[in-house]
């Protein structure tokens, strides 16, 4: 019995190790092969190079002087810029609006509260392709030209929900006695909000904003439908590249994107764990 149990435990551990290997070995592979100098087959190792990174960052490299090489760095830079502009705008809008709803639903009792809650959850549950085409039909029918603005509006519809959920979770864990104490000590509502509620709420707001930023940077499906023909974001650029044919510097782009989101996400998760 004891041996059977030991074996069972052991195999469960081995299974879990495999589980993490499955999650992280692909990521490790791409990190390693982003330094592979083979320009033809990215997965056959021919030597170490940092040329692809230099290439992506716009430095002169031996690859870019090769006549066969097609320059696409400008498009890439443009895509990164678009993504950053969109993500900053959507983060600002959705953080303000999402926080406002969360506070309203937390502090006030009113008719239709359940309806609001349901509607706030809907964009997250809905398959993104449905939201994408609904927005496309709407924008085209109302004569709004597709472009940066439609992407920003479209992304906000579901980012507000994410911010709402993160901020609501923070509000639910807050200590209401402090508010009462502040009121008892003679502070008016506005001062109480500014000095007591808001500082407690801030980690939730920052967390929601970080989440919104990351998801906005990464959104492909909804953006894909409402971007129109002129605007390309970073995920769209990579998606198009995957459909046309893969070039070696995509590894370097991928590694930089992964590092960026891992840093932001770790920061967010770290902040959250410290606040507990």
């Amino acid at each position: 019995m004891k041996i059977a149990r030991f074996l069972f435990r052991g195999s469960l551990f081995a299974y879990t190790a495999l589980f993490f290997a499955f999650l992280y070995i692909p990521l490790a592979l791409i990190a390693v092969y982003s330094f592979n100098s083979n320009p033809v087959n990215m997965m056959t190792w021919t030597g170490f190079t940092t040329e692809w990174y230099a290439q992506v960052l716009g430095f002169k490299t031996t690859v870019s002087e090769n006549a066969l090489y097609i320059e696409s760095t400008d498009q890439l830079v443009q895509a990164v810029w678009n993504s950053l502009i969109i993500a900053s705008s959507t983060t600002a809008i959705s953080t303000v609006l999402g926080t406002a709803v969360a506070i309203a639903l937390y502090r006030f009792a009113f008719f239709g509260k359940r309806f609001y809650r349901t509607v706030m959850f809907m964009p997250m549950l809905m398959p993104d392709i449905v939201l994408g085409i609904a927005l496309l039909i709407f924008f085209v029918n109302s004569g709004i030209a597709l472009g940066l603005w439609t992407i920003i509006i479209g992304q906000c519809t579901f980012l507000i929900s994410y911010v709402f959920i993160v901020v609501s979770a923070r509000l639910a864990g807050m200590d209401r006695t402090l508010e009462n104490a502040s009121a008892d000590l003679g502070a008016n509502e506005w001062v109480t909000f500014r000095k007591v509620v808001f500082p407690q709420l801030l980690p939730g707001i920052v967390g929601g904003a970080l989440l919104a930023f990351i998801i906005s940077m990464d959104d492909l499906v909804i953006t894909y439908f409402i971007a129109g023909v002129d605007v390309t974001t970073l995920p769209m650029f990579i998606f198009a590249m995957l459909r046309r044919g893969i070039k070696p510097e995509i590894n370097a782009i991928a590694v930089m994107m992964l590092s960026f989101s891992f840093i932001v996400a770790s920061l967010g998760l770290y902040l959250r764990s410290r606040q507990k």
Partner: protein, 301 residues
């Protein structure tokens, strides 16, 4: 804000201030577009894209194979794509569950610190770019990919295997991106599992298999059901995974919808297909709410 207002009306004003912008935003850019999409699914497609404003239920008939009887014969192509998408989504759910369930048990029994670290490692990929995570699998699976190169080099095979552009590749890609979605709800119910019940069952002579089937599985089923739903819904309408790992051969509902909007320009039909995805989602949520509601009632009884 004027201070001579009564507290009640001041609160009303605060509430209005907080809610009006979001209400307007959601009414115009969320509920409005959904309503227009639903309406579009009942309109006739125009000759050159666009729609004609006549009631036209045949978009739905077409999905089932029976389109406008005046123009088209019975054609089950769309229903077969629909069924195939259901099949791929179901396989994804099963595979994700098989991957996550045992790991959840292992992690739930670790020390607090390693537990938190493991959870961190599992949530982290969720924040990484989805398209990048899929693209890695292209590099691994394609003809000149790492698996084929390694197998060729070691002489296990003499011709590259066809790994990419298959249903299996799609399921693999989906499992990879949906693991955090399945793991979290499953883990939540595994962690709450009352091990004294398991021990009691074993002490009373039930074998490990029976204990698993009669005690562990039912007690963790809410997490399994929750995970299944939040994996199934995005898997069903997904078009990025089949577009990247399925190639041109494998078509799922998501690709079909994309095609109707971006190349075939049959928006009403595309809307009807999207409504199918929505209705599957609503049915699943409904069943989930009913099932968990009843279980809650059982517990209180």
């Amino acid at each position: 804000m004027a201070s001579d207002l009564s507290p009640a009306s001041r609160r009303r004003m605060q509430l209005a201030l907080l809610l009006t912008p979001v209400s307007l935003f959601f009414a115009v850019f969320f509920l409005g577009p959904l309503a227009i999409m639903i309406a579009t699914s009942f309109l006739a497609p125009g000759l050159y894209g666009g729609v004609e404003w006549v009631f036209y239920p045949h978009n739905y008939g077409r999905i089932l194979g029976f389109a406008d009887p005046a123009f088209e014969d019975f054609d089950p192509v769309y229903i077969s794509i629909f069924l195939r998408s259901l099949k791929i989504a179901a396989f994804t759910v099963i595979a994700t569950l098989l991957v996550c369930y045992p790991a959840a048990f292992c992690i739930a029994r670790l020390s607090e610190r390693s537990k938190n670290f493991c959870l961190f490692l599992i949530t982290l990929p969720f924040f990484a770019s989805l398209i990048v995570r899929l693209f890695i699998w292209v590099l691994i699976l394609r003809q000149t990919g790492i698996v084929n190169e390694m197998l060729l080099a070691t002489g296990v095979i003499d011709r590259p295997l066809e790994l990419i552009y298959t249903d299996g590749a799609i399921v693999l890609g989906m499992v990879y991106i949906f693991i955090p979605f399945m793991f979290m709800p499953v883990y939540a119910s595994v962690e709450k599992l009352d091990w004294t019940l398991v021990r009691a069952s074993l002490d009373l002579g039930a074998g490990p298999i029976r204990t698993f089937l009669r005690i562990i599985l039912p007690l963790t089923s809410p997490g399994i059901a929750g995970g299944a739903i939040i994996v199934f819904i995005p898997a069903l309408g997904n078009f990025v995974v089949p577009a990247v790992l399925g190639g041109a051969k494998v078509m799922m509902l998501g690709n079909l919808i994309e095609q109707q909007f971006l190349s075939a320009r049959n928006w009403p039909f595309g809307s009807a297909l999207a409504m199918m995805v929505m209705s599957v989602m609503l049915v699943m949520l409904f069943v989930y709410v009913i099932a968990t509601g009843r279980r809650g009632a059982d517990v209180t009884n």
